[in-house]
Symmetry: C2
Subunit: 471 residues, 2 copies
């Protein structure tokens, strides 16, 4: 590997003539665009942050990605990888120009290996497509982030979480092996189809959640499980969110293995109802807990649901509405899934996905409600009660740009400060990217940030890969 | 952080006078030993590799560890951390002299937090003590490596696996947060009591399995689960190991959630029987699969065991002996647990813990049997059929030192070569340390090793922490 002493941060602008070499790496000139590049390629799903892009490249193989990176390394060109661009924190924004590397054409399902219960995919495969593919074959990929049009590469890069994390864990727990291209263009293989791995430093786990700052994932071996045969849900109304959250903590001790434990305050349910044209029972409830259960035997699932019922009723639930038929269950989950969109239908919002120790969830939300009252900025919360991962929509309303910037900053400071004080972290599943950098920086030990930077410097000595994200 | 340009590899010998500063860091002079240091402190559990040690230090707090590392960093003194010294690959051998840092006095259980289902412990707590502590309180720490006298810090440093990995995963999956001292002496906190974490590069996951090469773990937040109320086992004899392993692959597809799936060939069971003074049924079987099941309801556990019975009988099991009473179950597991000692009672042996994709387990063992026949070196295999993690004892027998060195090298080359060819890795749970370095080096992409070294260089620029291990 060549290592020239070029100061990081000085990047070559990619002029048209300069691109000639790239045409020998990317076989089809159609897959290099230098003009008429759509705006979505220089931003993320929220579109608030914008970068610039000299050339948009669509590689179709690990070799092409490696070729591009070798070229970029040699020439000090900045590269920003992206999948479907569903990111919410600016991780895909090409802040320093250069090349945007769109991996969406690398969307093949390479191999389903039923013996080892693994599926090998390229990073551009969409979550929805992967889920459909494996479920049609009696298998199951448990991670279930709300955004199904995200790519698997993107899910891995942010260590996406989702609804089923309570029982099944997060994306990290389903990555068995990764092929990745390092900033130097070197290709590495980490992990594999094996289950256990104590063979040196875990580059795999370092890459997971690194938001494309250390390497570009070009192939993923994912763990599958047999598809659970029975699924059931329950909607549990409470007269206060605090009672609901306390009930969840007791429920987790009952060992009834819920797949998902979500909470929704009444005010967000009201938006969801309006948005989806449905209505929830118990409109007088101030909060709902939404549960689901799955398993391979109906008896086991029913028995778990019944034990859950007994537990939450003891803890003060107003009712326990079993959702047995798939249609009702799907409808309720659709409302849950549409909450962000329901909020956005009313106003621009800034998403927060802090995570606190599960027994601090109610304290955090109480604090958010206090901030809402004191600041006049509407804060809508819902999320994963089973793991303390709270989604908070900070609602812009009618504010002009200046007022919004000021109010948002003030609210965010308080919110992230509180999360930190409660032993929480900045992000449970969205990542840090650009937009959460200041809060992450403030909430995190300088020694931790310094160590992260040292690792970045070590693997990307020219700072050419997605520079400026996270730290 | 000071960073002087000292060439890594040039270490200061710790003379007595030079230690004065250390006495101001470690409050009690009794906790610094420079004379009469027992031999166990310069080796590992196998005692085959030996280092040297100028001073043995027993810190009692993160602050003391930090103080020692700052001093060592400033003076370019090599530091080798250790727990109970049960390591099998030389990770605790102080190859470059200097300080041995024994963390066994840091053995407090700091906090049990039942709300978040976490226990916070110092790294010197023994696995056996942790298991007993939480189980007495109705809770459960699932990782279950064979060696119960290992420390939790050691378990994390090798990402120890164990019997229950099939259902519950490995040590990595139960580490929520870590406090660690970096080679510079800086203290970092990563993770916490939170369940999800997408907040920057995962230093936590990088430290797990790093064998004390990147930092010294000084506090661990571990995930617990409620203790399963029912446990049951089954001993399943087969007429060939291949039939047994194929049955396991089918069994995993049945979704009956076994806690453990172990395999034992007849020849190792015979040693275990003799060693423990018991006898297994079906002495004519050439292999056994040992299963266990647990859960919170007896009906569920029984139903899973019954479905497992049907599955393995369909796959050609000779019988399915349900182990219902705890005594019989414990006795059979004791034999399984004593296999290494049973082998060692007969001869010195070199342990292998390769991991292959689960459907390659039978191929790997068939190859090991072939190597045994061709080389005349006895190879005894058993291990974790549910995750492809094969333990192989390479038996010395009556060989003199020279013949043993030669034969061992030849056998190991073939064994590790085959594992690599089958898509396997060098270690599933023991780590690489010193003794597996040559095989790891040979089986691993140079780019992967280079990236690991870059990370090591970045976090330990003076190479003062457990230098020479892994890579």
């Amino acid at each position: 590997m060549r290592r020239r002493l070029v100061r990081p941060g000085i990047y070559q602008k990619v002029e048209v003539g300069f691109l000639q070499e790239l045409y020998s790496i990317i076989s089809d000139p159609q897959r290099i665009k230098t003009e008429g590049i759509a705006e979505k390629y220089v931003t993320d799903n929220l579109g608030r942050l914008q970068g610039t892009c000299d050339a948009l490249v669509f590689p179709v193989s690990t070799e092409e990605v490696s070729g591009v990176m070798k070229w970029a390394y040699a020439n000090s060109v900045q590269v920003t990888p992206r999948g479907a661009g569903t990111n919410l924190v600016g991780s895909t924004v090409p802040e320093h120009g250069g090349i945007v590397l769109d991996l969406s054409l690398m969307n093949r399902i390479v191999e389903l290996d039923e013996d080892t219960l693994t599926v090998t995919v390229e990073p551009g495969v969409l979550l929805a497509d992967l889920q459909a593919y494996v479920e049609a074959r009696g298998l199951f990929y448990p991670p279930d982030p709300g955004e199904k049009q995200a790519t698997i590469g993107g899910n891995i890069s942010t260590n996406a979480g989702g609804m089923r994390a309570v029982k099944y864990g997060v994306t990290r727990d389903y990555v068995r092996g990764l092929t990745a291209v390092l900033p130097s263009g070197e290709v590495i293989h980490t992990g594999g189809k094996v289950v256990k791995d104590s063979s040196g430093l875990s580059l795999k786990h370092l890459l997971i959640g690194s938001e494309g700052t250390l390497g570009i994932i070009t192939e993923c071996v994912l763990k599958l499980i047999p598809k659970p045969a029975f699924v059931m849900g329950a909607l549990v109304p409470f007269d206060s969110l605090k009672t609901g959250i306390d009930a969840v903590i007791r429920l987790i001790h009952e060992n009834v293995g819920p797949t998902a434990i979500e909470f929704m305050e009444r005010k967000v349910v009201a938006l969801g109802e309006r948005f989806m044209g449905v209505s929830f029972p118990y409109p007088e409830a101030s909060a709902y807990i939404l549960l689901s259960f799955d398993g391979n035997s109906e008896g086991e699932v029913r028995s778990n649901a019944e034990r859950a019922r007994q537990s939450v009723v003891r803890s003060g639930a107003l009712d326990f509405l079993l959702l047995e038929d798939k249609e009702t269950l799907d409808e309720v989950w659709k409302v849950r899934g549409a909450l962000v969109k329901a909020v956005e239908a009313v106003s621009e919002q800034e998403p927060v996905d802090i995570v606190v120790p599960i027994n601090k969830t109610a304290d955090f939300i109480a604090y958010a409600n206090k901030v809402e009252q004191e600041s006049g900025v509407q804060l809508i919360s819902f999320g994963h009660a089973g793991d303390g991962n709270v989604h908070l929509c900070v609602v812009r309303g009618e504010r002009d740009a200046e007022a919004w910037r000021k109010d948002l900053k003030a609210v965010m400071s308080r919110i992230y400060g509180k999360s930190h004080e409660l032993g929480g972290l900045t992000s449970g599943e969205h990542g840090i990217g650009l937009s959460k950098k200041p809060y992450f920086q403030k909430a995190t030990d300088p020694a931790v940030i310094a160590a992260m930077k040292q690792i970045k410097d070590a693997l990307d000595d020219r700072h050419i890969l997605n520079t400026g994200k996270i730290f």
